[in-house]
């Protein structure tokens, strides 16, 4: 039985296991999504949006779909994956199951908790009815698959005029208690007017079992809200991640999504921004540093619908060995969206002859009074710069690393949490295989 068939036969059992009333709206949402997936199946390279990224090798595993019990992990074993230098809220899942032991949630002035609980409580019904599955793609079958099996994930609801004083960490661990596991995390995040929140999301396997995570996040920024979102993708080489993130912004809001991709086997990021008001700023930043046979695919969309908005997109990649990078940056400026400022930049360095990058900027501009630019480079390290550093006594290997670090640097500048910036810098140094010799 292939994976699609297995998912199809499991759907009824999944819903009845939830023990929810099948009369509810969620049942309708799940069923519709399920039908969509059933009709379309997993995307293949025949789909234009999946031309350079094949899921085929991921679908041959006999994944366990619904681990029933929580596998205990000691905090000391996973401590290093948390940003533990500072206070934070934590929403932690182990093999898809919520871990109250590792989590630190709240229902105080705001809700930082789990989706499964929110789905069941009448208190949240209005909110969820209003937001859940409203911006997630209805065309992407992989997103529909997640919607069909959606039940667990982070639920964050911040009322208006609230600054959440510490970052929120969303952690998805997998343990290897199931040899092969497929996870379908689902996050719903609503940030009220004038509110500000910082979120760090990470998917992490703690040993080398085969993991396929198909994650969907819906993020809503109300008027003047500020959201800084960080995705740390540094998983084991046996883990793959399909991350679908949908962002809807109201007027004057600022949302930044920063994606750091260093690990994993295959990583596909679908990141879509929908602007629903004036004077909105959307920031999309990414740095990819991979080697081996790793693949990272960043598919982004920014949809400018209203006048006087901005988007700033900067993706950088460093590819070694036989790794592959994909960048597809779509920017739509609708007819009404005059005075749009949309900037997109994608710079790549190929370290080895077998590494490759497929880059595709896609600008569709229907307004006439706009400033839009895009640039894409694929190159190698500058020999002159290398010689300069060597002539100062810095050995070639360190000089290389320092130059690559310098190349990646402007994406690091966007990190607003200093401890996280230090972390990422160290990850990069480790990934480049050198000791930079100083703290950045």
């Amino acid at each position: 039985m292939n994976l699609k068939e297995k998912l199809i036969t499991s759907f009824l059992a999944f819903e009845s296991n939830l023990g929810t009333n099948t009369e509810t709206d969620f049942h309708d949402i799940r069923s519709k999504a399920f039908q969509h997936f059933e009709q379309n199946g997993f995307p293949t390279r025949k789909d234009e949006e999946w031309k350079y990224t094949s899921l085929k090798s991921l679908l041959n595993h006999d994944y366990s779909l619904f681990p029933k019990t929580e596998t205990a992990i000691e905090f000391k074993d996973v401590k290093k994956y948390f940003l533990n230098e500072i206070e934070s809220y934590r929403i932690v899942f182990i093999d898809g199951v919520y871990s109250s032991f590792l989590s630190d949630t709240t229902h105080g002035n705001y809700d930082i908790c789990l989706l499964s609980a929110a789905l069941k409580k009448p208190k949240y019904k209005m909110v969820i009815d209003h937001y859940f599955n409203t911006i997630a793609s209805k065309k992407e079958s992989i997103t529909s698959l997640n919607t069909a099996f959606s039940n667990e994930g982070a639920y964050i609801q911040i009322p208006k005029n609230t600054i959440v004083p510490k970052p929120i960490q969303i952690m998805y661990f997998s343990t290897g208690s199931e040899a092969q596991i497929m996870l379908q995390p689902r996050n719903l995040i609503i940030v009220g007017e004038n509110s500000h929140v910082q979120i760090v999301e990470r998917h992490q396997s703690i040993n080398n079992n085969v993991v396929l995570s198909n994650s969907v996040s819906e993020i809503f920024a109300k008027k003047r809200a500020i959201i800084d979102y960080y995705k740390i993708q540094n998983d084991q080489i046996t883990s793959s991640l399909i991350d679908n993130t949908y962002v809807q912004q109201q007027q004057q809001s600022i949302v930044s999504v920063n994606t750091f991709s260093f690990g994993g086997n295959l990583t596909r990021n679908n990141l879509e921004f929908y602007q629903e008001g004036e004077h909105i700023t959307s920031n999309l930043n990414g740095i990819t540093i991979i080697g081996d046979k790793q693949l990272v695919d960043n598919h982004t969309l920014v949809n400018h619908k209203f006048p006087n908005c901005e988007s700033h997109e900067l993706y950088k990649g460093i590819y070694a060995d036989s790794s592959t990078g994909v960048f597809n940056g779509k920017v739509i400026v609708e007819k009404e969206a005059q005075k749009t400022n949309a900037f997109q930049q994608n710079n790549n360095i190929l370290i080895d002859d077998n590494a490759s990058v497929n880059a595709k900027p896609q600008l569709e501009i229907f307004a006439d009074d706009v400033k839009c630019s895009h640039g894409c480079t694929i190159g190698q390290l500058d020999d002159n710069a290398l010689f300069y550093m060597q002539s100062r006594g810095i050995p070639k290997k360190e000089a290389n690393a320092l130059l690559l670090y310098a190349f990646a640097n402007d994406t690091l500048e966007k990190i607003k949490i200093p401890e996280l910036k230090t972390r990422i810098t160290k990850l990069i140094a480790a990934k480049l295989g050198v000791d930079l010799g100083f703290e950045i």
């Binding site: 010689f387 002539s391 006594g393 810095i394 070639k396 690091l412 930079l436 100083f438 950045i440």
Partner: protein
């Protein structure tokens, strides 16, 4: 200190140096002058070990050691420093961090302990004061957004920090206004000693008003066509290069 014997070098199948002979002793300042395209910058790059240049004949010795097969960093560790005509910008790496790395790598290669943070800071402050460099400048990203003068001053700062045996200043005067030129020259003069040597590569004579050379050599078409004392620089300033061709 530096002995160059019958040096021939080419880049991309083009012969540029066609038999250079030069001997530089400790405590000396040599100026190498010549028109554009005469091979001045190639000579400095070959001494510093740039890989694109292929030495086809002849040898370069530093303190009796043949430099052939030594990487640029090895040469730096042995005391060669070249100030670049066009220093490279390195965003995200501060002047201070860059020089720290350079110094400690050099010390490591010479079997010395890394400099303590305190000693490093002291040395940085002392050198910055000598070259009239503002402290804020040191925390900026290396050469990023620097003016021409700032870049050159930063090169001399690095030179002063690294204390090389042989310093090659490649067109250090280009892009400098007269005040910056004086500061740079003053820095070089203060660092000069009986134990080190300086080679100044320049198109013009004006830097030589401030750093007075012991010897002046004229490079033309890949060869040294004339050598003399400091008065030769003035002669070139008056007559140009044509009379030597």
């Amino acid at each position: 200190m530096l002995e160059i014997k019958n040096l021939h070098a080419r880049v991309e199948d083009k012969d540029i140096l066609k038999g250079i002979n030069l001997s530089v002793k400790a405590g000396e300042v040599h100026a190498i002058m010549g028109p554009n395209g005469s091979g001045k910058s190639t000579l400095s790059s070959v001494i510093a070990g740039k890989e694109e240049y292929e030495v086809t004949e002849g040898e370069v010795f530093l303190n009796n050691e043949n430099l052939e097969d030594l990487s640029p960093e090895d040469r730096a560790h042995k005391g060669i420093f070249m100030s670049f005509q066009y220093p490279v910008e390195i965003p995200g790496v501060s002047v201070t961090n860059f020089i720290k790395t350079a110094i400690n790598e050099t010390r490591k290669a010479n079997g010395k302990e890394e400099l303590s943070a305190k000693d490093m800071l002291h040395k940085i402050r002392e050198t910055a004061a000598l070259l009239e460099i503002d402290r804020k400048f040191l925390s900026r990203s290396l050469n990023e957004g620097f003016s021409g003068g700032e870049k050159k001053r930063n090169e001399i700062f690095q030179m002063a920090m690294l204390e090389p045996k042989l310093a090659i200043l490649d067109e250090t005067d280009s892009g400098l206004d007269i005040d910056a030129l004086k500061i740079v020259a003053n820095g070089v003069n203060k660092l000069k000693s009986k134990d080190n040597a300086v080679i100044i590569i320049t198109h013009y004579q004006r830097l030589l008003d401030y750093i007075v050379p012991d010897f002046v050599h004229v490079l033309h078409n890949g060869k040294i066509v004339k050598s003399g004392g400091k008065e030769l620089a003035h002669e070139l300033e008056d007559k140009g290069y044509d009379w030597l061709k």
